[in-house]
């Protein structure tokens, strides 16, 4: 069976679906088998995000990809400043008046690939096609040639100090959504500390999931950015693009940066599906010049949000936009970007909490089961890059998610815990200012605590991925 999904927030890959679906199925089964409520946890959300770089900018300014990217799509300090300035180099060539009339700043990105996905301890009918034959644990493996989703990105300046992004993005079946769309007023009052944008955009995460160097089904997203306890009503993902307005600013070299955003409580969904509530996100980072080592940056962030716990209904059907009984959640933590010459280290830590009503999917006008409390967890990762040269990078990442407080005290304390490992190589056979091509090879594995058969089982999902990541 060919399974398809349409993800609201990002391009998707079948590999993601397989691993996510089996994990969700396994945890749903665990929930049913345990007879409890909300005592199983999703390993990760279904989010899949394609990172992107914009060779259209390289074409406009005549700079090689490596000028703005450590290894595209990840930004270096120069690229960060360019982005902070509203995709402007801050010379007199920024305004569209300097562009050739035939120039259109459009970028396409896609990754034809060969990949293998595998998941252990999956519930499978003992006799194929016989749903009453009982479930047995099997390892499910899938492999073959495939496509990624596609990004069709246009971005640039509408006028000096007015910039924009429009990013229609599709999954690998060609189903499009708007991953990003905003207008930004840059350097308001001739002050680089005052920039204002409205629309749908990536949260100003120091460690960006949109511009990172992993593409595989299991490694192509940060678990920390999407983890939610199973049965939780919350849909928030720190890596999901959100809709709202952001005030941001930066020092002249962008070593010091801040961002304050007000966002609709919809996790980036269009059509206002929840209610009229708003979230807030604050981020601050500072970098120092460490000489030959490079630029060392440390940042802090906090996201405070609310989600409705029940809706007005019509004939029993929830009416979109009428969500009420809001309950809160938060994500708070530190992140960094440290260089040691050609070696880069990206640490990230987060503490997260979801209100007990959200965590147990209980309507706010109902009574919580006895003993139920907020769900809390900690997560983090360390990612390392070694840039052999601008055209060859080795990558690795270790990530962990640990529940610190289950919403239901009866739930095993480690159910849902995750350990994830990724390693890869990206080789850019060409590096110039017109287009990009990378041969990307990656191995990723995720261990999740709890299977359909036992909460003490470890379920492994893994990916082998090799693809040609091209960007024009």
């Amino acid at each position: 069976m060919r399974v398809r999904i349409t993800r609201r927030g990002g391009a998707t890959q079948v590999s993601w679906l397989l691993s996510a679906a089996v994990t969700s199925g396994c945890l749903a089964a665990a929930l049913a088998l345990s007879g409890g409520r909300s005592n199983a946890y999703t390993a990760y959300s279904l989010a899949v995000h394609k990172a992107a770089a914009i060779p259209a900018f390289a074409r406009k300014y005549g700079l090689p990809c490596s000028a703005c990217h450590t290894a595209w799509p990840e930004l270096n300090a120069f690229g960060q400043r360019f982005r902070d300035n509203g995709y402007q180099l801050m010379n007199d060539r920024d305004s569209p008046i300097w562009q050739n009339p035939s120039y259109i700043p459009v970028t396409f990105r896609m990754t034809p690939n060969l990949h293998r996905e595998s998941a252990t301890k999956q519930p499978v009918d003992a006799v194929p096609g016989d749903s009453i034959s009982g479930l047995v644990a099997r390892t499910i493996t899938q492999s073959g040639f495939d496509l990624s989703g596609m990004d069709l990105w246009t971005a640039g300046t509408l006028y000096k100090n007015i910039s924009f992004v429009l990013l229609p993005s599709s999954d690998n079946t060609g189903a499009f959504h708007f991953e990003a769309a905003f207008v930004r007023f840059d350097n308001l009052f001739s002050n680089r500390w005052v920039n204002f944008k409205v629309g749908k955009f990536e949260l100003d995460n120091l460690v960006s999931e949109k511009r990172f160097l992993f593409l595989s089904g299991n490694g192509g997203a940060y678990q920390s950015y999407h983890f939610l306890p199973a049965g939780d009503l919350n849909d928030f993902g720190l890596g999901d693009n959100q809709i709202g307005a952001e005030l941001s600013g930066h020092s002249e070299n962008s070593y010091t940066r801040y961002g304050v955003a007000v966002l609709s409580s919809t996790d980036g969904e269009v059509n206002l599906p929840t209610n009229q509530s708003y979230d807030a996100y604050v981020t601050l980072s500072h970098a120092v010049d460490a000489g030959a080592l490079g630029v060392e940056r440390l940042g802090a962030y906090a996201y405070l949000g609310r989600r409705p716990t029940y809706f007005q209904t019509s004939g029993g059907v929830p009416i979109p936009g009428t969500g009420t009984g809001n309950k809160t959640f938060y994500r708070i933590g530190l992140s960094g970007d440290f260089f040691f010459g050609d070696f880069e280290l990206l640490p990230f830590v987060m503490h997260a909490s979801d209100n007990a009503y959200l965590a147990t999917a209980t309507a706010a006008n109902a009574t919580l089961p006895p003993g139920v409390r907020d769900a809390r967890w900690n997560s983090g990762f360390v990612e390392a890059h070694y840039y052999v040269n601008p055209q060859f990078v080795l990558t690795g990442r270790w990530e962990t998610v640990r529940m610190s407080q289950q919403a239901d005290p009866a739930t095993p304390s480690d159910l849902g815990n995750i350990d994830a490992y990724s390693g890869g190589v990206r080789w850019y056979p060409i590096m110039f200012s017109r287009a990009g091509l990378s041969w990307h090879t990656e191995v990723s594995a995720v261990r999740t605590r709890g299977s359909a058969f036992s909460p003490t089982d470890n379920v492994w999902t893994s990916s082998l991925f090799s693809g040609l990541d091209f960007d024009f």
């Binding site: 300014y61 005549g62 700079l63 090689p64 490596s66 000028a67 270096n76 300090a77 120069f78 960060q80 400043r81 180099l89 801050m90 010379n91 007199d92 060539r93 002249e252 070299n253 962008s254 070593y255 010049d289 460490a290 000489g291 030959a292 080592l293 490079g294 630029v295 050609d342 052999v388 040269n389 601008p390 060859f392 110039f432 200012s433």
Partner: protein, 282 residues
Amino acid sequence: MRLHPRLVAFVSGLGVLLSTMGATAGSTQESHVGSLTGHAAAGKKLYRRYCVGCHGPDGDGAGENAQWIDPKPRDFTLAVFKCRSTPTGTLPTDEDLFNAMTRGFVTTNMPQWLPLTRQNRADLVAYIKTFSPKWKTLKLGTPISIPPESRLTIESVLHGRELYQKMDCWKCHGAQGHADGPSAATLTDNKDLPIRPYDFATGSRFMCGVTNRDLYKVFMTGLDGTPMPSFADNIKPAEAWDLVHFLRTMQPLSTPEAALWKAWVASHAAELKPIGPGGSGR
């Protein structure tokens, strides 16, 4: 077991390959910027990452994008640089190159490389100096001395205006500083490529810095490789400051010079003689 030696050989080979690829071959050329010492070997890697697209792998300004760029990228093999603190015809100091890289050139494609660490920029300066043998054969230039800025008075501005006429600045920059003088369209640089004079009316920052001292340096050192000469042998330091004061009045900016000039012109406009052919500037 037979695979084991092959595995060892493969891993060893990979290690050698990686170390070779990561190594920075090249030169022992150094730069000195303040307390920093830049190394060409480190700069070579940075040059490949940031600069090669325009300036080219050989530093001759023939990068893949050069054909699309106007003005053309600097040809480092000639070792001729516009923005210097040293007399015309001499090599710039390392700090001059460092500052130019940091500042960028507003009217060109050269961006500000401010986000790079100071050490990175010093390394790049060291590497840029490997492209021309002049850095080894010629004596380095000595920075000119810049006297304290003279007091801003209307007399100073008026004298600067007179010099603007007398020194034929208007022939390129235009009577109003709009880069529309009679010679403007004919100017070429040292590679015989068309070049435009600075247009004061844009109000953009000057190519070689934003301060009055930077502007003073331009008069006294010239912009080598362009038609802009050095006036060091033609005007005295005090006169150069007068010229600075006048030129500031031509920019649509809120400067003390512009405020003084505007107030004076409001009641003395009739006394001014036009700048241009046959004019006196006073």
